[in-house]
């Protein structure tokens, strides 16, 4: 008993309390702060689509592209968001299969984050192409012109990777939600009851339903697991398959996957630290969870550290003057500050997490998580945009100078993501009720027989 009682992964409350605490987050009326938050997110979303409209009308020239930098802020932000998603899937799927119990309290929020992050990322391939209205030409569909997309192109692989990822992770989220929505349904009344009723797909909690449910959940977890590795590997090949110095790297797939998870956990922290306060569920998401998240951050951060040093080593060892010049300019070129902010924010800052004090200090973690977000955006920007500023023919070298159109889309993407997330956590259980309950030890089940 005692042993179990001390297991920090175990919930401290009873079934009834769990349900109550979580359902409360939905049922109780939101404060003004919530509306302000949601409102500002909605505004940013408008900015996003307003800018997109301008791009459609006048062309991509509104953005700060200056050849030879053909990919700049948009692709950077795309990779940034697709990366965010990975932590979610890792926590919700892989850790589930590994039966690591600490994930339970946080997985719902992270899975939601994944879906919305991918939804955000999915906008960018469309935003960034020259004739956005023809994006569907990248989808293979039979046509009488006998035209077919080029399956050799990494961009094609991207299309498949993203669409698969979006489908699987959203299904995974929805399935996981069903019993919890049912629980909410039982605690609300009026039209809400009807809505949640419909969303709960007639969940009654019958044994047969539980049996099918847990199977389905398991399979989906198994299905989602490889995506954590595959999707971002594919994204990394967008660059690794090219011949651009700074892109053409054999270590890119693992390097990017680690970076993705790293950035994702950064975002998780940034989201749930305020969230647990706002929703008053600190007792469900505890220091213990953050400690674990922090350890994951430390691991992935260290992999990044290694990858960065490896990149520089390879470029030196390659003996290729092009590679060497590229990396020299990353550190000491005109955009040195970007290069260093990436290294400091990611490689160095993550190393602070060796100390348990920092791992368990919520404010410290929050600050670090912000660093991680910034650092990871810069990492992509440095790799993508800055490698393009100086490749083979010196005469064609150029400089980057983004414009309002770049920044509006970037900010807008946060709005779009934030809007979905804000709406989600206020209307759906942000903590997986039934999975928490599953972990409540027998003893307390007995002592509170009849509750629920």
């Amino acid at each position: 008993m005692a042993v179990i009682a001390h297991d920090p992964s175990m919930p401290t409350q009873t079934h009834a309390e769990v349900t109550r605490d979580v359902v409360r987050t939905i049922t109780e009326k939101p404060e003004r702060g919530y509306y302000i938050l949601a409102g500002s997110m909605a505004f940013l979303t408008l900015v996003l689509f307003g800018t997109l409209g301008a791009l459609l009308k006048y062309g991509l020239g509104l953005a700060g592209y200056s050849p030879p930098i053909m990919w700049s802020v948009y692709i950077t932000t795309f990779v940034f968001w697709i990366g965010i998603g990975h932590a979610g899937t890792l926590i919700s799927a892989i850790l589930y299969l590994f039966r690591s119990r600490w994930r339970t309290a946080v997985y719902r929020s992270t899975e939601a984050m994944t879906v919305f992050a991918v939804m955000t990322a999915a906008l960018f391939p469309i935003i960034h192409i020259g004739r956005q209205w023809l994006f569907y030409w990248l989808i293979p569909y039979p046509n009488q012109r006998f035209l077919w997309p080029n399956f050799k192109s990494p961009l094609m692989w991207d299309v498949f990777a993203i669409s698969t990822y979006l489908t699987v992770s959203s299904t995974f989220l929805v399935i996981g939600l069903v019993p919890d929505i049912a629980a909410v349904r039982d605690h609300v009344s009026g039209w809400k009851k009807k809505v949640y009723g419909a969303l709960s797909l007639g969940w009654t909690g019958a044994d047969s339903q539980w049996r099918h449910y847990s199977r389905a959940y398991l399979y989906l977890a198994a299905l989602a697991t490889p995506l954590v590795l595959s999707v971002h590997s594919v994204v990394s090949w967008d660059f690794a398959m090219s011949i651009i110095p700074g892109w053409h790297g054999t270590i890119f797939a693992p390097y990017f996957v680690a970076g993705a998870i790293y950035s994702g956990i950064g975002m998780v922290l940034t989201l749930i630290i305020p969230l647990r306060k706002v929703l008053r569920i600190e007792h469900m998401i505890t220091d213990y969870h953050f400690d674990n998240l922090a350890k994951l951050t430390l691991l992935t951060g260290s992999i990044l550290f290694y990858s960065y040093s490896m990149e520089y080593f390879i470029s030196w060892y390659s003996g290729s003057p092009f590679e060497q010049m590229t990396f020299w300019r990353r550190a000491f070129g005109p955009n040195w500050w970007a290069g260093w902010s990436m290294i400091i924010c990611n490689a160095f800052v993550s190393q602070l997490l060796w100390f348990k004090k920092i791992r368990t200090s919520i404010p410290a973690l929050f600050v670090i998580s912000i660093f991680i977000n910034i650092g990871m955006w810069f990492e992509r920007w440095v790799i993508i945009a800055m490698s393009l500023t100086n490749d083979y023919v010196p005469y064609a070298w150029g400089q980057i100078n983004p414009t309002w159109a770049d920044w509006c889309i970037l900010a807008g993407s946060f709005g779009w993501f934030g809007l979905w997330f804000t709406l989600f956590y206020k209307n759906f259980p942000i903590v997986a009720i039934q999975e928490i309950k599953e972990m409540i030890p027998m003893s307390r089940r007995k002592s509170h027989a009849g509750a629920h």
């Binding site: 006048y58 062309g59 991509l60 020239g61 509104l62 700060g64 592209y65 200056s66 050849p67 030879p68 053909m70 990919w71 960034h128 192409i129 020259g130 004739r131 956005q132 023809l134 994006f135 030409w137 990248l138 035209l147 077919w148 997309p149 080029n150 050799k152 192109s153 990494p154 961009l155 094609m156 299309v159 967008d238 398959m241 090219s242 011949i243 651009i244 003996g319 290729s320 003057p321 092009f322 010049m325 393009l388 100086n390 490749d391 083979y392 023919v393 010196p394 005469y395 064609a396 070298w397 150029g398 100078n401």
Partner: protein, 1001 residues
Amino acid sequence: MAGQTEGAGVDRRQFLKVLGTAGAGAAVLGGCSTEQVQKLVPYMVQSEDQVPGIPTWYASTCAECSSGCGVYVKTREGRPIKLEGNPDHPVNAGTLCSRGQAGLQGLYNPDRLTGPMAKNAAGTWDAIKWDDAIARFAAKVAAAQGEFAVINGYGPSTFSSLLTAWTSAVGGFITNYQTFSREPERLANQKTWGRTDLPLYDFAAAKHIVSFGADYLETWGSPVEQQRGFAASHGFHDGTMARAVFVGPRMSLTAANSDEWVSVPAGTEALVALAMAQVIASSKGNSAAASLADYAPDKVASQTGLSAQKITALAQAFAAASPSLAVAGGVGAQHRGAIELCEAVNLLNDVAGNIGQTVKFGAALAESEGYGSVEALFGRMGKGEFQVVLVHDSNPLYTLPRGGNFGASFAKVPFKVSTAAILDETAAACDLILPSLHGYERWDDLMPRAGVRGLMQPVVEPVRNGMHIGDVVLKASKTIGGAAAAFNAPTFEAYLKGEWQKTLGANGFDDSWRETLGKGGVFAPSAPVETPKATGAAVSYTKPAFDGMGDYILMPYPSMQYHDGRGANKPWLLENPDPITKITWQSWVEMHPDTAAKIDVREGEIVELSSPHGKLRAQVYIYPGVRPDTLAMPLGLGHTEYGRYAKGRGVTPLALLGGGDGNGFLPYLSTKVSVALTGDYHKVARVDGMPRQLGRGIIQTMPLAYAAKGMTPEESYKAAGRNFAEENPELEQKALEGWRERQIEQTQVGDYEPTDMPQWGMAVDLSRCTGCSACVTACYAENNIPTVGEEQVFRRREMSWMRIERYWEGGTDGEQIQARFSPVMCQHCGAAPCEPVCPVYASYHTPDGLNGQVYNRCVGTRYCSNNCPFKVRYFNWLKFTDVAWPEPLNLQLNPEVVTRVRGVMEKCTFCIQRIRGAQHTAILENRSVRAGEIVTACAQACPSGAIKFGNVKDPADEVVKWKGDRRGYTMLEATNVRPSVTYLAKVLHVEPADFHGAEER
């Protein structure tokens, strides 16, 4: 030929109107544009030589400068769409410079006046009818009672002589004045040989060329012809090549193409020439030696800043090569000592025995009055001696220095008439404008030299309601009466034919006339060479004086693009970067790095230059190719009128210059300026990113000695002790055995099976390319490339499918700076990185070895451009095609090439429309494409013949020979993309020991 231009006239204008609205036959691509209702307008009468869809070529003559190159005008459905050189013409032999090709944008310029205009009391313009306009003109001339002056900028021609005769008939005074008419040379020749005509300089024959300020590859003399000659002698051929030296204060394009730039202070060039003459004369025991004793190298060394040995070496090299050639003059050397300089050079040529060898008298025409007369004329205007002045084909109020108060004198004339087709500075100051016709709309001729009479014919219905001044004077004569009544030809065309009848002969004139029109004129074999008798006048040198107390000598030089400013209203020329500075759409002041450091300015900062004659603010361009004591500025911009493109763009150094001293020429290089910082900044619209090669072997060179031995660039680097790559240790060597071959094999996997398909390829001889950028303009004209404007160039969004890359070599720690030029277009790689990355196959490999680019399939992911090691792909960031061609500029668009919409990637296609066109013709004629039948626009235009295009699989094709050349290499071989463009290494006059292979690699 008169037939169809008149017969189908009205209808063709109809046709043009409609086409104009339908997008000039090259409507913007995209399904939607084809759905709206379109009208088909038939000819009333179908002219015999107009087959819809098939271009018709007319021979004509280029009137952009007085060189008088012959052109073929390519017309489609009655619209000129491209200008190409007339291969039979002795001056340009089938090629054409940028300015010449841009003539079309003068023809279709959106700012052309729509008809005659008269200034009313309010000072604004009223549109009037032609009859009215001519009546007013005639009345004024008649009333002027001989107080009538004419400034004629048009070159020697039937028209000019008509105008001269007519003017004197009405008792007026005429001066024929072209802006850069080389007066100092004429005056010097007068002193040296007692004749004021100019010789032809035979650059092709010269083995050693020394130029004292004469930019013979840019604006001086007849650039196209001279460039051809220069390429013939200085281009590497049969194991040798001529040596070229340039003496002057600035490294012009000519200097950059010379093997050596001898930097001397402005005004001391003559000393070098005299010293060289002294050395040669004394070594040859020539009588002149005595009189030159004061100019022995050691005596002049200090003034020129050169060592005596250096000068002696120059002289010996010059004497050793025979025949050699020394030239002097041009704006770049037009200081107060210009005449003495030219005399000195005449002497130098004389002692070196070049007269009659490379300096050929007898072919050039007699002088045009030049600056002296126009200066005098304005003086008389100032005194109010004229009631009426007529300005034709000249813009004196812009081209003459502001310090000379020419504007004020001009204003003193009560009634001023201009024939400008576009409202320029002079026209704006006039009271009546009789807009003339463009050279391709009118009957005319031009005689650049004896024996060469180029004809012009109307190849298009006048785009605007203009009238040739020839017709105007003839019509006016009727009302003026008196002596003028003798000029009774009904039209100028009739008069011209009448004059030509005298040369072609009356019997069978119609046939001979038709034949001559077809040929483009009469090109008699060059006149016999005369060797004039030197007058033996003593040669002296006095240090030229400079106005002003400033610290820096101001050196204005004519821009290659704008010439004297006439080019400033043509987008092609504005966007085509200056070959040296690579700046577009702007004017600038060139400053030596040391100078810049001293007064602490950076590129783009705006400085104020002030001279006794005026002030101006210009942005700084840091240029190691100008002396620290000199500031150089291009002429041509800074217009206050002259249409939407030129007006208010940039500044002109003329604002800082004073008038002449009555010596018969305008001393451009006679002002000292002081520099003041303003703290303002304006970004320089440069198109070169990193102007150094960083040892990447983009443009490879080799010493003449090695090239003569038939070494490859690689071998020559090794031989010069500069290894291609570091040597690998033995084991590594083993590991790498056959690695390169395997890699190349790898890239060939998936190549097309060897078929009967041709494989298109190109070769570029860098020892001939001078960087003149004529090919760039040709590419713009042929492929409907939009100009994007200054704002977009700031973002490097220019669309030039073909660019001339310019790299600096040396120039650091006191070392002589050198320039390298190379045309870079799509390399049509065999293993193209752009192809596999395109998700929609918009970029793909065609069976005949091209990198296809299917515009209408492109969705614009731009991955292809990222992955292109040469960065030769250009993206339509905005709706460039909507703004690039305001009507009627769009009438120039080539119907055989589609214009690209925004959001689409485009690039060089090896002029696929020409390839397919030739193939189609071949099919219709049941034959295969002949070797050399297909010529790309760039190769066609190149004055030095540095580009060769053809089928690599056809052994009969020239290009195969070129590609087989030992000097051949492909750019960025390390990437193993197997380009179809082979570059032939540039050959340098350099001792292998001093060979800087390392820098190029």
